[in-house]
């Protein structure tokens, strides 16, 4: 009975659902270990993601994109809210219980230089997870890994080589191959291309898209590069200072950005045509410290349209039709 209830409760179509997720880091502690000041890195974030879709998460640096990604994977323990993966609430699972779920959700890191262990060969890096999770029988591991390397555009003689012998793009391919080695359903891409130069970026993005089609993967694609996000995403979430300010399908968000922050952000996309006059909305000031966020709407200190209400009352995160959600008083 209890299990049936769970399936009723959670949308089975969605592979990942996040409800009011919150993650704080302690800044100051008393001697007894009581937290007196904390930094709210992710605050009240909710979204649903269907199988096979790509969610792009954008926002400026320090807005909690990476923390959100890692909290979903439970690399950080959340401080509130729920993470529902594949119809199962994983929020409070212990790390021993997580081990089986880990192979269904993987991560690709931003820095391909520090995310590969320097003392093992490519073959070793790729076959270790396969061996630990018993993806294929022992005798087939090597052929499985070689097959995987081919899929990710790596030559078979790289098997015996070490990570330091490769360039950034090749290393990122190894990282992708490692993430895919355990046949995951969800891959969190934590700025996978921002450390690479533009021509390599395109290769890696195309590889990710191709693999998504082949393997029916779901991506959470974290980036600060709007053009990349526009290219790869089906849905887009815009984050500001730890919370989601706008969420919706790519078409909705690009054609009709609701939140003033999203509008400012999108006005900053460079146009490859010198004759087009850009109507840039210039935001004044810096992003406020997440340790001491402003009262009311978090964006009001920099918002060109802020009213008195914005300074006092936190806006509600509401659906404005067709799954296009935003948190702003101006939308009524």
């Amino acid at each position: 009975m209890a299990e049936e209830k769970i399936t009723e409760q959670f949308d089975t179509e969605a592979i990942l659902e996040v409800r009011n997720l919150r993650k704080c880091f302690p800044l100051k502690k008393t001697l007894t270990g009581k937290v007196t000041q904390e930094l709210v890195a992710v605050d009240n974030v909710s979204f649903k993601l269907k199988r096979g879709e790509t969610l792009g998460i954008v926002g400026e640096s320090g807005c909690g994109k990476t923390t959100l990604g890692r909290t979903i994977l439970k690399l950080h323990q959340s401080n509130g809210g729920q993470i529902i993966f594949d119809g199962q609430d994983i929020t409070d699972l212990k790390s021993s219980q997580m081990r089986d779920i880990r192979k269904k959700m993987q991560i690709i890191f931003q820095d391909p230089y520090s995310s590969l262990p320097p003392r093992s060969t490519v073959g070793g890096i790729l076959s270790e997870p396969v061996e630990v999770h018993k993806i294929v029988p022992k005798s087939e591991i090597k052929s499985y890994v070689l097959d995987l390397m081919e899929k990710c555009g790596l030559r078979d003689y790289y098997y015996e080589r070490y990570p330091h012998e490769f360039s950034g793009g090749q290393r990122q391919r190894i990282c992708i191959a490692r993430a895919l080695s355990v046949n995951p359903e969800l891959v969190i891409c934590d700025e996978p291309v921002s450390a690479l130069d533009v021509s390599i970026q395109a290769q890696i993005i195309n590889l990710l898209k191709e693999l998504q089609q082949k393997l029916n993967l779901t991506y959470v694609f974290i980036s600060h590069d709007l053009s990349v996000v526009k290219f790869i995403s089906d849905k887009i979430g815009v984050m500001y200072l730890g919370s989601m300010v706008e969420f919706g399908s790519k078409e909705d968000i690009f054609s009709n950005p609701l939140h003033p922050y999203t509008q400012a952000l999108f006005s900053a996309i460079p146009q490859p045509d010198p004759d087009i006059k850009m109507n840039r909305i210039i935001l004044s000031g810096d992003i406020p410290s997440p340790a001491n966020p402003p009262k009311g709407c978090r964006f009001h200190t920099r918002c060109p349209k802020a009213t008195d209400k914005c300074k006092e009352v936190t806006p509600e995160y509401k659906d404005y039709g067709n799954g296009h959600c935003a948190a702003c008083h101006l939308l009524g």
């Binding site: 089986d100 993987q106 320097p118 003392r119 080589r161």
Partner: protein, 347 residues
């Protein structure tokens, strides 16, 4: 940008030269380290010194069996002492020269000869043979001590670094306390206790080495903890966590291998200091006791015998040279390994 294009060019050139050659394999990190180690002359010299000492100490007594460690040369020795007395009788001077012939059972303080390559000491033991046995003690003892220090240090440092928090605090405060303890005074007390308890002279040095291990492991533990603290935050460790690897796999397959370079250097350097420690102990008559030989004990002879210090260099200088060779050798190897294992060295 420039570097990337360079890398690409490099890649292309590699690919065009050997398009589908599966045997193409660049050097593994270990092989690269070995090559860099042997490229440095000083470390090769150090290696030769240490290997030479090992052969000398462990194979020497097997081949050269003429004398044993505590075998006295009882061939006897006749000592002549001449005394002159001058008398004056009736204005004439007489000199009475008297030679006393004294026959002694042991052939002590013999000069170097075919019989005794480095002569004998003040008791009549063969210096050359005792040098070999002394080397055995020094090398075995320092290896055991370093081995124990490393094991204890890796376990404690690994636990402190990986788990952090309260466990880390407890272990590190314990280290602080141990580092504060003065080594030699406590050693003197322990040595006196051992004397009183009548433990065989052969084994007391090992007991003292266990004590040395006990006060020396905090250094290694701190090194390992520091390394693990920094490695734990590396992204590949987060990736290992995301892969769902078990804690023991993460510690022993991912963290410890990455601490090994620093650990090996630390080990080879502390081997030298342990040999010095052992020699100091024996010299102060706290370590190996007569009749058993150790390099320190052999030098200790000069503290009671001025004649040996001045006139019989063959008794104590070789032991000093051996200590210098051993310590220098281990330090050269340590330095060489440090350079060879440095990941920033790109040759």
């Amino acid at each position: 940008m420039d570097e990337n294009t360079k890398n690409e060019a490099l890649e292309q050139s590699v690919e065009s030269e050997v398009p589908h050659d599966k045997t193409v394999r660049l050097m593994s990190p270990t092989r690269m380290v070995v090559r860099r180690f042997f490229r440095s002359k000083l470390s090769v010299v150090g290696l030769i010194m240490v290997v030479g000492l090992f052969i000398f100490s462990f194979l020497g007594p097997v081949i050269y069996t003429q004398w044993g460690e505590i075998q006295l040369d009882e061939s006897g020795k006749t000592e002549y002492s001449v005394s002159e007395t001058t008398y004056t009788v009736n204005g004439e001077e007489y000199t009475l020269r008297q030679t006393t012939e004294k026959y002694l059972k042991d052939n002590f303080l013999a000069p170097p000869s075919a019989e005794h390559i480095l002569g004998t000491d003040n008791e009549g033991y063969d210096v050359f043979v005792r040098l070999m046995y002394g080397g055995r003690i020094s090398l075995i003892v320092s290896f055991i001590a370093v081995f124990l220090i490393t094991i204890l240090g890796v376990i404690m440092g690994g636990i402190a670094g990986y788990f952090g928090g309260a466990i880390d605090n407890v272990i590190m405060r314990l280290c602080d306390v141990l580092i504060c303890l003065p080594g030699i005074p406590i050693l003197l007390i322990i040595s006196t206790i051992l004397d009183a308890s009548g433990i065989d002279a052969k084994y007391r040095i090992y007991l003292l080495m266990i004590y040395l291990t006990f006060i020396s492991w905090p250094g290694t533990a701190r090194l390992v903890r520091g390394q693990i603290l920094s490695l734990r935050e590396q992204e590949y460790m987060i990736a290992a966590e995301a892969m769902g690897f078990s804690t023991s796999r993460k510690i022993f397959k991912h963290l410890v291998p990455n601490v090994m370079p620093q650990l090996i250097v630390q080990m080879s350097l502390s081997l030298g200091s342990m040999i010095l420690y052992e020699a100091t102990l024996s010299y102060l008559n706290l370590g190996v006791k007569a009749p058993y030989a150790a390099w320190g004990t052999m030098i200790n002879i000069i503290s009671t015998n001025q004649d040996v210090l001045q006139n019989h260099l063959n008794v104590w200088v070789p032991a000093g040279i051996c200590i210098v060779i051993a310590v220098l050798g281990f330090n050269f190897i340590g330095d060489g390994l440090r350079d060879a294992l440095d990941p920033k060295a790109r040759r």
